[in-house]
């Protein structure tokens, strides 16, 4: 029996198989999904956000960033918003991106998958040094 996933706003009903087909998400894509989770961003803001979220360990070049953005657009995980300046930077017009309903659902599914994995690692005490903190 097909299981359906309802969006938060009950506007889009997506087949769970469609969502699960995207999993596991590559790390670069999941970083972009997380960066866009709190609102629209342009490319430089996404890059900066990813760097901050990863404490500087993940740095995307423009080829990696826009290659992932292009694929995500083709797969309808994100969509282009408008072009407008970023008042925090300068008056240069920039192209903004936002998550689609499908992108939100896929991001949530990936979050659940990663959480289950971390919980399993914690249960098996992975990374815990005997007799002390890890």
């Amino acid at each position: 029996m097909t299981e359906y996933v309802e969006s938060r706003h009950n506007d889009v009903v997506t087949d769970r198989d469609d969502v699960d087909a995207f999993l596991p998400l590559p790390a670069s894509v999941m970083h972009i999904v997380v960066a866009l989770a709190d609102g629209e961003k342009h490319g430089y803001a996404i890059m900066r956000d990813v760097k901050e979220l990863s404490d500087g360990t993940v740095r995307m070049g423009s080829g990696t960033l826009y290659g992932s953005i292009k694929r995500m657009l083709d797969q309808s995980l994100i969509e282009e918003a408008d072009e407008r300046p970023d008042p925090a930077l300068d008056d240069q017009r920039r192209r903004y991106y936002r998550l689609t309903e499908l992108g939100q659902q896929v991001g949530a599914a990936e979050h659940r998958r990663l959480t289950a994995l971390v919980d399993a690692a914690r249960l098996r005490q992975l990374g815990i040094v005997p007799g002390g903190a890890w």
Partner: protein, 187 residues
């Protein structure tokens, strides 16, 4: 003020990407580099070095992800394999290389959102391949079996072009039947 030579170098670097990707994102890529220079105070040449490393890693993958890119790469490998077979008379190794290239091209799963529009360009390539191979077969018959250097070269060239055209036609058919979009899966 951003170093104009570094900006020009960055724009030249984007030539490594497929044309449609470059047209769509070249301004964004340039603006990204300018933003890093202005707001993170990274030197222009350091940005260019970083982007060069990133391009070397991502541009070949992007080329591979386009249908025509895969066709061109595999056709080139096939043509080189055939030339090696004719020159070195080592048939097995080139055939293995061609089969391996085809397996790599189509072994990864695809998750299309919408199926491709049906294309009949493969028919043209099929016809061209058959005609070229027909010419390669016909040449010895016309010449009575004794080939001089000119006819030998013509027969070899027609045979190679015919096989390449048939491979391209087959790849187009396979790509169309799986209902792919022109992009690979994410990542």
């Amino acid at each position: 003020m951003v170093n104009p030579f570094a900006v020009r170098g960055l724009r030249i670097l984007t030539l490594a990407y497929p044309a449609d990707f470059r047209r769509r994102y070249i301004d964004d890529i340039t603006q990204l580099a300018i933003d890093r220079h202005r707001h993170e105070h990274v030197s222009a040449w350091r940005i260019l070095a970083d982007e060069t490393a990133d391009t070397l890693r991502t541009a070949p993958l992007q080329r591979w992800e386009t249908t025509m890119g895969r066709i061109i790469i595999i056709s080139t490998i096939a043509a080189a394999a055939l030339i090696a077979a004719l020159v070195a008379q080592v048939m097995l190794v080139p055939l293995v290389l061609v089969l391996a290239a085809c397996a790599v091209a189509f072994s990864r799963g695809r998750r299309p959102i919408a199926a491709d529009q049906p294309s009949h360009r493969w028919v043209r390539w099929l016809v061209a391949g058959v005609v070229a191979l027909g010419a390669a077969v016909a040449i010895p018959l016309i010449d009575g079996g004794e080939l001089n250097a000119f006819w030998w070269s013509a027969m070899a060239l027609a045979g190679i072009l015919g096989i390449v055209a048939l491979i391209v036609s087959l790849l187009m058919v396979l790509d169309g039947r799986t209902g792919r979009t022109t992009t690979a899966p994410i990542g």
